[in-house]
C-alpha cells in the first residue's frame, strides 16, 4: 500500500471524501480549549522545504503539532549549483534522525517522487509542492473550502459543481492538482488562460479549456484565480501585465457577472492588481482567508490518515 501523498491522482474518490470528512472533524478542534489531539504522539514529522514558503510550512507545522507530533523544520537552499547533493544527503540525514513523515517542497518537479522511491528514506512522503508538477494538499484544502460552501459538507457534495481555474496554468502545480482532484470528486473544471499559458497536451486532461474569461464566469460555482508572475512577460507569455489583467484579471465588473452563491478563491500569495483586484480579494465572496484556516484542518487530516494507524488509510496499491 502507498505510504505517500505525491499527487492528487493518488486519491480515489473514497479517499478524497474521507479526507474531507476527517478534515471537517479536525476543524471543530479549533473551537475547543485544548486544540490538541494525541493521535500522532511520538511520531516525528519533518518539514523539508527547499523553497521559501512560510505560509505552507507553518500550516503543516501547526497541523502536526495539533496532532501531538514532534516537528523538525529543515529549510534547505537547493540551488542548481548544489544540485542533488542537497536532496539525497539531506534525506539520508533525516532517515538517521528517524522521521516518520517528510513533508517536502522543492523547486524540481518529481523531487518528492525521487525521495519516495529512491530508497534513501523509509518514511511517508507528503508532497507540499514540487516545481510545476503538483500540490495535492492545496487541492484538498481548496476542495474542502468549496465543499463547505457549495457541497453542504455532505458526501458527493461537489458532484456536478462547476469550477473555473484562471491564470498561469502552464507553470501552476495548484492547477494540475486541482484539475485532477476536482474531477475525482465529480466536479466539472474549466481552465481559463491565454493560449501561451496552457501546457502542451492539455486537451488530454479531464477538463474544459477556454481563452474567454467573460464567457466562463457566469456559469461557475467557484472561481479560483491563480498567481501570475509579472516576470512571465519576459518569456513572451503575454505582452504586458496591463494587457494580461485586462483580459484575464478578476475585477469588480467581472465579479458582478457571477451568480449569487459563487465563491472566489486564490491559493496565495496574490499579486493584487494583476490577476485579482483589491476589492474582489476583500469582498464577501472571497473565501481566501478561510482557505488558509482550512489548510491546517486538511493537513491534519492527511497526516492522521497517513500516519495515525499501522497503515495509511488512503492511497492506492503500491
Amino acid at each position: 500500500m502507498k505510504r505517500h501523498l505525491l499527487s492528487a491522482a493518488d486519491l480515489s474518490r473514497d479517499d478524497a471524501e474521507l479526507v474531507l470528512t476527517t478534515a471537517d472533524e479536525m476543524r471543530s478542534l479549533a473551537d475547543r480549549p485544548i486544540k490538541k489531539l494525541p493521535a500522532l504522539r511520538g511520531r516525528t514529522v519533518v518539514n523539508l522545504f527547499f523553497e521559501d514558503s512560510t505560509r505552507t510550512r507553518i500550516s503543516f507545522e501547526a497541523a502536526a503539532k495539533r496532532l501531538s507530533a514532534d516537528v523538525i523544520n529543515f529549510a534547505a537552499k537547493g540551488s542548481s549549483l548544489s544540485k542533488g547533493e542537497s536532496l539525497k544527503d539531506t534525506a539520508l540525514t533525516l532517515e538517521a534522525m528517524g522521521a516518520d513523515a517528510v513533508v517536502v517542497r522543492h523547486g524540481s518537479s518529481g523531487a518528492p517522487h525521487r525521495l519516495a522511491h529512491s530508497g534513501w528514506v523509509r518514511s511517508s512522503v507528503v508532497n507540499a509542492g514540487d516545481g510545476t508538477h503538483e500540490h495535492p494538499t492545496q487541492a484538498l484544502l481548496d476542495a474542502f473550502t468549496m465543499w463547505k460552501h457549495l457541497g453542504e459538507s455532505k458526501p458527493g457534495g461537489l458532484e456536478g459543481r462547476r469550477v473555473a481555474i484562471v491564470g498561469d496554468v502552464l507553470h501552476s502545480r495548484v492547477a494540475r492538482s486541482n484539475a485532477l482532484l476536482l474531477r475525482t470528486l465529480g466536479a466539472e473544471v474549466t481552465l481559463v488562460a491565454p493560449p501561451t499559458l496552457f501546457p502542451v497536451g492539455v486537451e488530454s486532461w479531464p477538463v474544459e479549456t477556454s481563452y474567454d474569461l467573460d464567457g466562463v464566469l457566469p456559469k461557475a460555482d467557484a472561481v479560483m484565480m491563480l498567481r501570475v508572475q509579472r516576470e512571465r512577460m519576459n518569456g513572451g507569455f503575454f505582452p504586458t501585465p496591463r494587457e494580461y489583467s485586462r483580459r484575464y484579471g478578476l475585477d469588480a465588473r467581472r465579479m458582478a457577472t457571477l451568480q449569487d452563491h459563487t465563491i472566489v478563491m486564490h491559493p496565495g500569495p496574490m499579486v493584487r492588481g494583476m490577476e485579482i483586484t483589491a476589492d474582489v480579494a476583500d469582498s464577501a465572496r472571497s473565501v481566501i482567508v478561510e482557505q488558509v484556516t482550512n489548510g491546517v484542518a486538511v493537513r491534519m487530516a492527511v497526516l492522521y490518515l497517513l500516519l495515525g494507524g499501522a497503515e495509511p488509510a488512503v492511497g492506492g496499491e503500491e
Binding site: K83, L87, G110, G131, R176
Partner: protein, 433 residues
C-alpha cells in the same frame, strides 16, 4: 605478431567461412583453411562484421576523468565491437586546438583498445562566437576530419555557413547537434502530453527539425558536406529524406545522419518514473518517432548508428530530474540494441548492420583503415558476434568508469565474443585482453 585462424564465421550472416589474419591484414578468406603457428578461434555460430566505427562518443578526457578516461572508454568500445571511435570535443579544455586533439589521439594509441579519431570543435570553447583553428586540427597528427560543437548547437546561421564552407578545403564535415537554444531553454524532456502532466519543461521537436532544415539549405547553398548528429524525431527523418533526394538531383553537396541506439528503443514514457537515468539530449521521444527512426535507418535515410556514449558519475544521476546531467552509456550495448530493434524484426540484415555501423561511419569520418570489407588484403579490423545468446545487462560489469546505462536489468540479445584491431585481439572470448 601472432596469426589468428578464425574458423566457421558467418561473414555478414553468410555461410560459415574461415579467415586467416596475418601481420595485421586479412590474408585469406575461404572455407577449409589451415595454418600452422596460427592461434585458432572457433567462430561457429558467430557473425563476423567489419570492426565497428563510432562517429559519436564522449571519452571525457581531458577534464572529466571521474566519469571516463580514454583508456576506460576505448575498453568499453572494444567490448562493444568497435575498432574506431570519434571522440567528441566537449572536454575540458575543449578540443579546439591541434594540441588537445593530438593529446587525445595519443592517449588512444597508448591505451591500444581501439583507434581514437578526435573530433575538433567548430567554435572556440564551444562558445558559438568564432571558428576554431579547424585547419590546424586537420593538419595535426590526429588528422581531424569531423568537426562538432556537440553538446551545443552552432545556432548562428552565419557561423554555420562559414564552417560548412571552410572545411571543404580539407574534405572535412561539420557534424551538427541540432537544438535551437531559445526554444529549448531549461528543457528537461520531450515536449508533449507527458511533459505537461509531469511538470517538466518541454524540448519541442521543432527545435531540432528547424535547425536541420536550415543546415541542409545552407549545405546545398555552399556545396558542402553536412552530418546531422543523433536524429530523434519523425519530422527530422522526413526533412533528411527530402534533403537527400534534392542532393541526389543536384549533386555537389550531401547530408548524412546518425541515430543513437536508445532512440531506437526507448520512449519518453520512461520519464514518468522521474528517474534521471532516462534523461538525455536530445530527449527520448514518442513511439511514433521510434517507428520513424527505425524505418529511416532501414531505408538508408539515416546512414549511421552512433552511440553518443555519455558517461556521468553517480552523483550526477542520483538526484532529482532537473538537477541531473543529460546522457546515457552506449558503447557496450549498441550492437545488441540494433539486433533487438532492427535485425531480429527483419528491418535490417547483417550486411546492413555492417554498412550502418562500419562502412558508412568510416566513409563520413574519412577513416581509411576501418569500415573496409572482410576480404583478403584488407586491414584485419573485425568483430565476432554471437547473436544467439541472451543476457541481462549488469551495470556493475561495464568497463566504463560510469554506470549510467538505461538498460540495467534488461535482457538483450547478443554478445561480442572477439574484436580484432589490425589483427590483434582487443577482446577474446568476450573478455578484454
Amino acid at each position: 605478431m601472432t596469426s589468428y585462424l578464425i574458423k566457421n564465421a558467418s561473414i555478414l550472416g553468410g555461410a560459415p567461412t574461415d579467415l586467416l589474419l596475418e601481420e595485421g591484414v586479412i590474408a585469406q578468406v575461404d572455407t577449409g583453411l589451415s595454418a600452422k603457428d596460427a592461434e585458432v578461434v572457433d567462430a561457429s555460430g558467430l557473425v563476423a562484421l567489419p570492426g565497428l566505427v563510432d562517429l559519436h562518443t564522449h571519452l571525457r578526457e581531458p577534464g572529466r576523468e571521474d566519469a571516463e578516461t580514454v583508456d576506460s572508454g576505448t575498453a568499453a568500445a572494444a567490448l562493444g565491437g568497435f575498432t574506431a571511435v570519434h571522440a567528441m570535443a566537449n572536454t575540458d579544455p575543449v578540443a579546439d586546438t591541434a594540441g588537445v586533439v593530438e593529446q587525445v589521439w595519443r592517449l588512444g594509441r597508448e591505451a591500444g583498445h581501439c583507434d581514437v579519431y578526435p573530433v575538433g570543435a567548430v567554435t572556440v570553447g564551444l562558445a558559438g562566437e568564432r571558428l576554431a583553428e579547424l585547419g590546424a586540427m586537420a593538419d595535426s597528427a590526429a588528422r581531424v576530419r569531423v568537426f562538432s560543437d556537440d553538446g551545443k548547437c552552432v545556432s548562428d546561421a552565419v557561423l554555420m555557413r562559414r564552417a560548412l564552407e571552410y572545411v571543404k578545403a580539407f574534405d572535412g564535415v561539420i557534424a551538427q547537434h541540432a537544438q535551437e537554444p531559445r526554444l529549448t531553454e531549461g528543457a528537461q524532456m520531450n515536449e508533449g502530453e507527458l511533459s505537461g502532466r509531469l511538470g517538466l519543461a518541454g524540448w519541442p521537436a521543432v527545435a531540432e527539425e528547424a535547425v536541420i532544415a536550415r543546415d541542409c539549405l545552407l549545405a546545398a547553398h555552399v556545396g558542402s558536406r553536412l552530418h546531422v548528429c543523433h536524429v530523434s524525431t519523425a519530422g527530422s527523418v522526413e526533412i533528411v529524406r527530402d534533403a537527400k533526394a534534392r542532393a541526389a538531383r543536384e549533386g555537389g553537396w550531401s547530408v548524412t545522419a546518425e541515430v543513437c541506439p536508445h532512440h531506437l528503443l526507448l520512449t519518453d514514457e520512461l520519464a514518468t518514473t522521474y528517474d534521471p537515468i532516462y534523461k538525455v539530449n536530445p530527449p527520448l521521444r514518442t513511439s511514433r518517432d521510434v517507428e520513424a527512426l527505425r524505418a529511416g535507418l532501414a531505408d538508408g535515410t539515416i546512414d549511421v548508428v552512433a552511440t553518443d556514449h555519455a558517461p556521468h558519475p553517480h552523483e550526477d544521476k542520483d538526484c532529482e530530474w532537473a538537477a541531473a546531467a543529460f546522457g546515457m552509456l552506449g558503447l557496450e550495448t549498441a550492437l545488441s540494441i540494433v539486433q533487438e530493434t532492427m535485425v531480429d524484426p527483419g528491418l535490417l540484415d547483417w550486411a546492413g548492420v555492417a554498412e550502418r555501423m562500419s562502412h558508412a561511419p568510416a566513409r563520413i569520418g574519412r577513416v581509411a583503415d576501418h569500415g573496409r570489407s572482410l576480404e583478403a588484403g584488407q586491414p584485419a579490423n573485425l568483430v565476432l558476434y554471437d547473436p544467439a545468446v541472451r543476457r541481462v545487462v549488469e551495470a556493475s560489469e561495464s568497463a566504463s568508469l560510469s554506470r549510467n546505462t538505461p538498460y540495467a536489468g534488461m535482457e538483450l540479445p547478443g554478445r561480442v565474443m572477439a574484436t580484432f584491431l589490425r589483427g590483434r585481439p582487443t577482446v577474446l572470448d568476450g573478455k578484454l585482453q
